[in-house]
Subunit: 145 residues, 3 copies
């Protein structure tokens, strides 16, 4: 969590662009909600021109971002707005400033149905999660029941 799928035209971004955007996305979640860095997964998918349609028309200049949030659920309109503002801020240099059209939506999925490296991730903001963030990797821990 979060899981970002970024659909782009073929060749839209260089490896350096993808690296820079992934960095910005990761920084966002670390800064905003203290996520361990390794929680942030970004996958780019290049969509061939004849395979991407907006409003029934081939679009060759469109970036579509599809996000699943798992580790943090947003429960107030204020936080929803802030979250989307942050996401747009991160995207802007890679979409608006490059002349792409773009759209983004986020789904929230159950935290209980998520494992990383075979482990149940620690409670949000728990001491163990802070440890994972510090280590930047999932380490086995004792689950208190």
């Amino acid at each position: 969590m979060p899981y970002w799928k970024i659909l782009t035209p073929v060749g839209a971004y260089s490896d350096e662009d993808k690296q820079a955007l992934s960095d910005s996305i990761t920084d966002l979640y670390v800064d905003a909600v203290n996520l361990p860095r390794f929680y942030v997964v970004v996958a780019f998918e290049e969509v061939p021109a004849g395979s991407f349609y907006i409003g029934g028309k081939v679009h060759t200049n469109f970036v579509r971002v599809v996000i699943d949030h798992i580790a943090r659920q947003i429960d107030t309109p204020q936080l929803q707005e802030a979250c989307m503002d942050w996401i747009e801020m991160v995207l802007e240099p890679f979409v608006k400033e490059r002349g792409f059209d773009w759209e983004v939506h986020v789904d929230e999925t159950p935290i209980e149905l998520w494992r990383t490296q075979g482990l149940v991730p620690p409670e949000p903001y728990s001491e163990q999660e802070m440890q994972w963030a510090k280590d930047n990797k999932p380490t086995p821990y004792e689950v208190l029941v």
Copy 2:
């Protein structure tokens, strides 16, 4: 919104097929729920034969449609059924009549966690949404609070 991902065998559809199917999908949402045309995003993904399994067997003739609904939530069994009937009607010429097997499912995601072109989309069926539909593009507008 809606966001359609259509997984097909390699070469299943020509560019003309993809254009025609995307047109039908877009018409559906415009006619049924007055969406602005540009809300409708369709991305095709060709899955290589050895990478697509149904019931544990390689399937080389299968179309899998995965849809996210964002701008409109369906809240009665009658509308759910109608929605799926419409979707099947649109798909039929491109799946059943072509001899493909097929399956479709829709998820609904929070309208609050969605932006297009950096803008908060107007309320469903609002005057502003009608304006976007007429313009067929998102234009900045004054949000009344």
Copy 3:
């Protein structure tokens, strides 16, 4: 349902691997919740190295599993845990034992917004579903209203 999307590095799995993993996944759902085999859809997606980022770093050794559950919803913490344990058990020989890092999450989507082969799937655990399981294909049936 279920719909599994498995993102891997290019060349991570041979056709035999993909066949074996798809078989294990299918067996899991048949054994655990009596699903018809053909309900289980698995699609592999190879992500080029410079397009897959974990924690803002290129990762060339990561398997990301994204699952939609449709036909069965899980409604107790015990079943959620059991479900994820089963999924990990199936994945382990293909991730941990191969030296891949991995992560998995499941979303649950509305059963009412799902059709297979144009048909409304029968009620979970109904006689008709058992018939579909036995036939391993969807056959038209009389819907009692």
